[in-house]
Amino acid sequence: MFSFESILETLKTGSGFWDPLIWVIIAALAFLLIYVLRSFGKKEFKEKTEQTQSFLSGNPEYEKEQMRIKGSNVYWGFIETMKWAFNILRKIHTGNASDYVLWLIIVMGFLFIVVFITGAL
């Protein structure tokens, strides 16, 4: 039955291991290190001066409302480059109920061929 001793055991994955507690400790140490390093930084930063303004090649900063990127525009470059693949995927997803059934039949036929060939061996 339930063995609570296994809480602290390490998960063995054949060739490796995974222990979240060690990971958490190391992550905490890393954050501590970052904090320490950060505290060595320069203390010249002042709010509400020119330092806080972003530099857009000398152009004026846009309004906040216009700075927003829409959800469908994120990863625009990636989607544009992989357009051929996405076009194929879009073609497959017709949204037609008959096609859904057709795919079921196709998979069934494919499995029939595979299993009958190898099962007869």
Partner: protein, 545 residues
Amino acid sequence: MNWFETITMHSPALIVAVPLLAGFLTPLVSRINDTVRNLFVLIMLSITGILIAILGYDVLTNGIRTYVFGGGNTVITLPSGLMFHVRIIFEVDSMNIFMVIITIILAIIGIVYSLSFMKKEDGLDKYYTIVLILVTSTLGMELTGDLFNFFVFLEISCITSCALIAFWVHKGEALEAALKYIVISSIAALFFLFALGLLYAQYNALNMATIANAIQFSIIDQAALILIIAALTMKAGLVPMHMWLPDSYGEAPPSITFILIAATQAGLYGAFRVIFTLYGNVFNSINLAYVNLVITANTIGWVLVALAIITIIIGVFMALIQTDFKRLIGFTAVAEIGYIFLGIGVRLASKYVQYSGSSATAIAFSEYSSIALNGSIFHIINDCLDIGLLFLVAGAIYYATKETSLDKMGGLARNMKYTTVFFIIGLLAVSGMPPFNGFASKLMLYESTYQLNPIITIIAVLASILLLAVFVKVFYSAFMGPEQQKFKEVKEVPKGMLIAMGAVVVIIIIFGLFPNLVINNIVQPAADALTNYTTYISKVIPGVI
């Protein structure tokens, strides 16, 4: 016999009977008062949960337990000496317990969520009735030891989920998704029934253990296997039969989607049970008598691996170009299903024959196969929790803003702080970032797959990274960015929904920090129950082998 033993003995039947009774009592109870009805539904599901806990304790301690409906013996011996297995039988081993625990967790949290989410809707008595019957059918699928009973529960689950997907009747898209879902799943269920007829014609039995004991893998059995596998993987959402899944997940009310995930996993459980127990001679046997079936098992394993890889890739890529929040999560759910099937495929493909000289001496599984199976089973529960949490967050955003399109959202993190935190945790968990639960199971899958074929692992890892990218996109466009004028008045969602999401988050963190607690106590026994199909047969039909 004291009362505790009595309850344990009858709990397999009661687990199905209590939600069913509650489901049909709900229309009558809701004539009194809404609050009474809500309490009633919650209490009935809690009773089911307690029964499941009792049964789980017993099964994990003492092994397989069976329950015969109508009492008496399952075996009738005719004067001529023929033995017939009559009566419907429920059998419970660790795998069943594992699935049932998932289902009841999802059901209770889903009900708690819908108490606040659906408060303003009409027709709630029918809603709760159908939800309870859906839970009943899911539990029934996961507990039954009879193929035809499985089919009946499959159809009930199909009908009830269709009715729930179309719950928002005023939306045309919801009706469309429901119709597509019921068309494909009723056809798949009919194929399942056809396969069942084939098996019945051969072995004169519908009991899974009896058929598993007698199975020959003749050409008719192969046909039955293909029909059943195709039907059940369709129900689980394997590419290219996945297209109903984003439709229906996206259009159903989010609280329903959360429970629908459990119903989908029940189809997956059916595939597990059919592959590993019903056709255990083919896929699980290490008996030299079945040496000619090694190639078949490996081929089916490779086919499943290939389909799983395609599933992962298509799921992730399609999620990348979605603009609807819930539909996007639906496609990532498809990708997650692919990871589960990857584990099954690796397990099946890892069977080999040991030769000494020219003669075969033994059949064996490679060492990584058990890790693949463990990872696959562990990933079921992680998938349910992570994807479910994201759907709940999507529902919370819909509740607060009445928007599902990502293009129209933005800057919601200012007003919905808790929801944002929950979303970040769900995002990290679903994309397999340490130290959350998705990482542990995915690591097991990666390591075992790497020993089968490194390229597959690379693809799977890349897809997992893309999954993170997809959710970063969602996070950026929905929660970050400047404040929107129209969302100034948006408030945090009610406490009930926060409690539901918080409960899922707590489970995710516990599973993430102590993966061995889950693996040693639930996952490993479930994997053992699946692989030891002879134990299953001998416990369910004693005296036959």
